[in-house]
């Protein structure tokens, strides 16, 4: 493989405290230099003049639907959507069929990814067998096979004792526990955020408190066990406050927010349009502001998409029958720039942290930096090119998004994985 020399971009690598126009050289898939006027004989040149050059973005929360639901997405199509969204690494949740609760399934995903994925795939294993919430899964073996975290995403561990044991066990393997926080009794049957809008539309509500009580429980258990604990797709202002509290107590508690939860509230929904149906649901404007403030303050340190493809016929039904989830990979950078950077809430460097060094630290993977000898993963993006999202041109197999037709200022331009350009605009 020839070397790749990315010339004259504004190189932002928070991990190396670098923010200046520079060249980045990747040789044999490894970062071999960041500096002025680099040269390399025979290297492929990528002119990044006027562009931002950052460490490869990591999305630590996606659903690739393989194995088991290949009509919605596959490792290949999901990875192509990731590349088109500027992501070089993605972490698929274990709610496949079979559930990724064993070394066998983890290995299958790793092998399929090695052959078919255009970006790095780091699987997340289940916490419990079948994600049934009862018996712990083979956490150690899954880690050996390549799992970087454990989660029963979508089927939260309701039994506090099981969660405690999972945290104790995970701590022994130094692997983070990620929870989709939702008390299933409080949210039972709900289809959207509980509030004036749900009352108005006659839809059953998912109260914010269904998230809050489980975040509270888990933070207490994280303190008890000393485990590394991560809140998936945080959506309520109360939960953000509790994560800040946990951090203030010095706990290893982290959180991620999705682009949609820092953008849309329940009042932004087109009534009964399932493109706006996901879990956690779009909450109140106060909650949206709380999540944004959590990112500004640092309580929430990761942006993850919860990319959740569903085929059209499943989303073309009565609202209450439609599955939860929307696409996310291809719009994440555009939305995040709009909601956080263009309005001056955070700096561009902070934005890069949210997508790179922070998720890498949460997961404990050697990615998210352009330091010498790091893997040659690079995301090239713009902060000002205007583009319009057309979901019919998506690389995903599915089309469920509320952002179709939306025009963005700034977005991905090229995605480089292990020294190879896998996508460019």
């Amino acid at each position: 493989m020839p070397a790749l020399l990315i010339k004259n971009g504004r190189v932002i690598d928070p991990n190396s405290d670098h923010d200046a126009v520079a060249d980045v050289l990747i040789t044999d898939g490894i970062i071999t230099g960041v500096g002025q006027n680099l040269t390399a004989a025979g290297a492929e040149i990528f002119d990044a003049t006027g562009m931002i050059v950052a460490p490869g973005f990591i999305d630590m929360h996606v659903h690739l639907r393989e194995p088991g639901f290949e009509h919605s997405e596959t490792i290949e199509t999901g990875s192509r959507a990731a590349a088109a969204g500027g992501f070089t690494s993605i972490c698929p949740m274990p709610n496949t069929a079979p559930v990724n609760d064993s070394k066998t399934v983890t290995t299958y995903i790793v092998e399929r990814a090695r052959r078919h994925a255009v970006v790095n795939v780091f699987p997340i294993g289940a916490i419990t067998k079948g994600s049934a919430g009862e018996e712990l899964a083979a956490i150690g073996s899954m880690k050996q096979a390549g799992a970087v975290a454990i989660s029963d995403d979508g089927r939260p561990v309701m039994n506090a004792r099981v969660m405690r044991r999972a945290m104790e066990f995970a701590k022994g393997f130094n692997i983070p526990v990620i929870n989709h926080c939702e008390d299933l009794h409080l949210s039972a049957g709900g289809d959207m955020h509980e509030g004036l809008e749900s009352v108005r539309l006659g839809l059953r509500g998912i109260p914010g408190v269904s998230e809050d009580v489980m975040v509270a429980r888990d933070i207490l258990l994280a303190e008890l066990t000393g485990a590394r604990y991560h809140v998936a797709h945080i959506s309520s202002a109360h939960s953000v406050a509790m994560v800040a509290y946990a951090k203030a107590r010095g706990l290893a508690v982290t959180a991620e927010a999705t682009p949609h939860h820092l953008t849309l509230s329940d009042t932004d929904m087109t009534p009964y349009d399932s493109s706006f149906k996901m879990k956690p649901p779009l909450r109140s404007r106060k909650d949206v502001n709380g999540v944004v403030e959590g990112i500004v303050s640092g309580a929430v340190e990761v942006i993850a998409t919860d990319h959740a493809p569903h085929p059209g016929d499943e989303k073309m039904q009565e609202f209450e029958r439609c599955p939860f989830g929307i696409l996310g990979l291809e719009t994440a950078i555009g939305i995040s720039l709009e909601q956080l950077v263009h309005n001056g809430k955070i700096s561009l460097r902070r934005l890069v942290e949210l997508f790179t060094v922070n998720p890498a630290r949460v997961l404990g993977i050697n990615r998210g930096t352009l330091a010498a000898s790091a893997p040659g993963d690079v995301t090239v993006f713009s902060t000002d090119n205007e583009w319009t999202y057309d979901v019919n041109k998506s690389f995903s197999k599915s089309r469920n998004t509320p952002f179709d037709g939306k025009t963005f200022r700034g977005g991905p331009l090229a995605t480089i994985v292990n020294g190879e350009i896998v996508w460019r605009a």
Binding site: E194, L196, G202, L203, Y272, D313, M316, E318, E320
Partner: protein, 310 residues
């Protein structure tokens, strides 16, 4: 052509036009039923995904009195039970070129979702726990028939508000006319957000407070089939939220008692109240037909030639 999906999106003049026209279709006491030929050659489909005798029959009679053909399909007898999706069913019906589909469905928003994808108009005959627009229209017609004005009227709506599409539609309609609306029910069936549903709404869990000085009392049916949990102990319902004769003394002397039916005697309303002079429950049923005639005329229009090719 516009259907009728809900009251919330109607303007007061639009509502008034329907109420005024419904009057023309009322049958004066002692006189024979008059037939109109306004919608001759037209065809509507009654598509009921939920059991309903009175609303379906009322729509059928309304259509027939206007000379319009009406075909009724119930979910159990159709391909729905064979697993066909709602969109496919409606597309199939659409290919048969109905002039409108009158639809009842257990899922809130089902007609709204469909209307975005279909060309023929849909008339909502009740969607889940969302709205039941023709019920609110017939209720308003019934109140007006008593010579009352809706402006400033004090209306108590009592029962399982959380799950009531009748309550929502009535709140929107009455609010557009500036009525005072008191919603009353067990706390777990009375979400506090309801007070922001529309101007003029207040909430109380105290039956006596709700009824005091009321001009109109609307009782709601206890909808056990929509309660997914025991939000209220069944044995506590009638003692605390059932309408009894003694309550009526608290209301205005000329108070009227309404109920969308079917009534559960001894559950939400005492028999003596249902059968009392104050009850206008049968007037509501009668007005159901005239209001639905006005709605059908409005949606289908009167001018098109019978049997014209589409």
């Amino acid at each position: 052509m516009r259907g009728l999906l809900d009251i919330e999106s109607l303007t007061r003049p639009e509502i008034q036009a329907i109420l005024d026209r419904a009057r023309d279709f009322q049958v004066p006491p002692g006189q024979p039923v008059k037939r109109f030929d306004l919608l001759r050659g037209r065809m509507v489909v009654n598509l009921f995904y939920e059991a309903s005798t009175r609303t379906r029959t009322s729509f059928e009679i309304a259509a027939k009195r206007l000379g319009c053909d009406a075909v009724s399909i119930t979910a159990q007898a159709s391909s729905v039970s064979k697993g066909e999706s709602l969109v496919d069913t409606l597309n199939t019906l659409g290919a048969m070129r109905p002039d409108a589909v009158i639809m009842r469905h257990a899922a809130s928003g089902a007609p709204h979702f469909l209307q975005r994808h279909l060309t023929f108009p849909i008339i909502n005959a009740g969607d889940g726990t969302h709205e039941h627009p023709t019920q609110a229209l017939l209720d308003a017609r019934t109140i007006l028939d008593r010579g009352a004005k809706l402006e400033g009227l004090r209306v108590a709506i009592i029962g399982d508000i959380a799950h009531s599409r009748v309550a929502r539609s009535n709140v929107y309609l009455l609010s557009k006319y500036g009525a005072d609306i008191i919603l009353c029910g067990p706390p777990s069936l009375l979400p506090r957000e309801l007070k922001d549903l529309a101007p003029g709404v207040t909430l109380t869990t105290d039956m006596n407070e709700a009824i005091r000085d009321a001009d109109v009392i609307m009782m709601l049916r206890v909808q056990l089939e929509r309660q997914h949990e025991a939000a209220f102990p069944a044995s506590e319902y009638f003692p605390f939220y059932g309408l009894r004769l003694e309550h009526l003394k608290l209301a205005k002397p000329d108070v009227i008692v309404m109920h969308p039916g079917p009534i559960n005697r001894g559950r939400e309303i005492a028999s003596e109240v249902a059968d009392s002079q104050k009850s206008v429950i049968l007037n509501q049923v009668e007005n159901g037909i005239s209001v639905r005639m006005a709605v059908l005329e409005r949606v289908l229009g009167g001018e098109k030639n019978a049997g014209a090719a589409h």
